[in-house]
Amino acid sequence: MQPLAITAYSIVNCLGAGARAVADALFGKRSGLAPCDFDGVALDTWIGRVRGVEARPVRAELGAYDCRNNRMAQLALELDGFAETVARARSRYGTARIGVFMGTSTSGILETELAYQQRAAATGALPAGYRYAQTHNTFSLADFVQRYLGLQGPAFAVSSACSSSAKVFGNAARMIEAGVCDAAVVGGIDTLCLTTLYGFNSLELTSRGPCRPFDAERNGISIGEGGGLALLERAGARAGAEATLLGVGDSCDAYHMSTPHPEGLGARLAMQQALASARLSPADIDYVNLHGTGTRTNDAAEDRAVADLLPAPTPCSSTKGATGHLLGAAGITEIVISMLSIKHQLLPGSANTRQVDPAVRCNYLLEPKAARVRRVLSNSFGFGGSNCAVVLEAAA
């Protein structure tokens, strides 16, 4: 693909709000996970909750969109100077020439879950004031972001479970390459809701403690929330890029709806395609931010895929022990973390992982470490066997 400049980004999750707070916590090996205290949920698990998002309603003229997920999106828009940078891009390109492609798994489904708890006894009807289109519908997030930023270009949501907000980089790259737009706002937001908390619990995939990716005793995920945004422009369009998007690879497992291919076949295919799209070879990668959810099968399959493809010394880690698993927003979260790794020339360790599983073959980092970081591969895999890998490079 044609490389694209990433000229702005923002990030919010349980580690903090904004790039500085997240980097400080991450490279200081702190975790934002805590025992689950999400409204009325009685599950023995840990979560990565963003404090205070409840108290920040969306701005008045977009009040119809008000829900936890769009509040989180607004927080991301307000952080790291993101909306201001987009406003400057808007005056350069015009409102119709900037696309909005947002990843989410559950959007504002929490509103529907709450509405179902308040159905009319006689008729079963949902309460008055319930707004499906602006909250629950998967497009709500992209719609809200487009309106908030005053953009009028192409927009849609990508919802492929936990690969969603990595895949949007591919959609945006193709749209820019095809000339449909000149720049794109991409990213993703997911927020705590009952469907994912009870759903992952029903599959026995949630850990009772903080998740411990790649640990010998790992036993499941910790669900997190938040996400991030990035602005993509044609490389060379403007100086001052934060990083360069070099390649995106995309594949399906064709194996099972909720269990990865045991040999990591789809994961390897996605990484191979990302490298091909970036015109790089495996030895060019300085660090891999793993999907590393902390379930036994996911980590084993990903380890196999990475070890089969990349040179043995390539440093790898999962940052989900710090942030939790942000599901549809995991892709953008870890792509921004990869950019922070390039910016600070630091590799993240693996908070909460105590002892690396002896079966692991890849060079898994427990501690943060200074290193020359020029090119990073970030993995995101989801239900339905949906895989995506993204390659980033330090800005020229």
Binding site: P154, C252, A254, S386
Partner: protein
């Protein structure tokens, strides 16, 4: 953007396949609505066939019809799935369970709740590991899918199957989001001309005021406005006539897709 249509698939109320529906779409025959008839695909392994909901049936029926017509192999084709609401029966059942004190969610229902469930079952059924994306753009989900599939065919220089579907929510969600019928449609789009191509589409994003294309037949027009995925009907009618145009599909933020449809010689 230019894309060649190599095959079409269709399943909907009174629309039993592309071949059987062309006369109704051109107006040569009267359109008669009837409940959407769609069976579980024999391509799925038995366990997955049992677990598959309506979206899986719709997408396999329409998608396989289009790919067979195109003379392509499903196992090789990149896919773009697009839907307003995914599996509506499933989300209703989960929200009902979550409103009870026990909050017992079925694991199968949970993994079927992802918007890309249809894409996941598709890849298992067809053993396809090619790139796949799953989109949502509310009422404009078909237009978004067409734009994305055409851009992908162009950028990757390879054919793409676009598969759009929607089906109704049960009550009480049906009151908040009425979707009138189960409907699926698919197009195989190629960046290059081929012997069997039906038509060439020239697609542009247009912010000028232009009236959205409608269906002449009242029944088909009700279907078009009643099901988000059926917003594709004016394009399918132009393909059935192999001419006409331009087709105007509403997109987002006041923009439209303007699609010129030209028959291939």
């Amino acid at each position: 953007m230019r894309a060649y249509v190599e095959g079409v698939g269709l399943v909907g109320p009174g629309l039993a396949g592309w071949g059987a529906s062309r006369a109704a779409l051109t107006g040569a025959e009267a359109y008669r609505s009837a409940p959407t008839a769609v069976a579980a695909s024999p391509l799925l392994p038995a366990a997955e066939r049992r677990r598959a909901g309506m979206p899986v049936k719709l997408t396999l029926a329409a998608g396989i019809e289009a790919i067979e017509a195109a003379g392509r192999e499903a196992a090789d084709l990149a896919t773009v799935f697009t839907s307003s609401s995914g599996d509506c029966d499933n989300v209703h059942a989960i929200c009902e369970s979550l409103a009870t004190p026990e909050r017992q969610v079925s694991p199968t229902r949970f993994h079927n709740s992802v918007h890309n469930a249809a894409a996941g079952y598709w890849s298992i059924a067809t053993q396809c590991r090619a790139p796949s994306t799953s989109l949502c753009c509310y009422d404009a989900s078909f237009a978004a899918g067409l734009l994305d599939a055409a851009a992908q065919a162009l950028a990757e220089r390879s054919p793409v199957a676009l598969i759009a579907y929607d089906h109704p929510y049960p009550a009480p969600l049906s009151a908040a989001r009425p979707i009138q019928a189960a409907f699926g449609a698919a197009l195989v789009l190629s960046p290059q001309a081929s012997d069997g191509a039906l038509a060439v589409l020239d697609i542009e994003l247009d912010s000028r005021e232009a009236a959205e294309s409608r269906m002449e037949d009242a029944g088909l027009e009700a279907l078009r406005t009643g099901v988000p995925a059926a917003r594709c009907l004016p394009l399918l009618a132009a393909l059935a006539r192999a001419s006409g145009g331009p087709v105007i599909l509403e997109f987002v933020a006041g923009t439209r897709l303007r699609i010129a449809v030209t028959q291939c010689a």
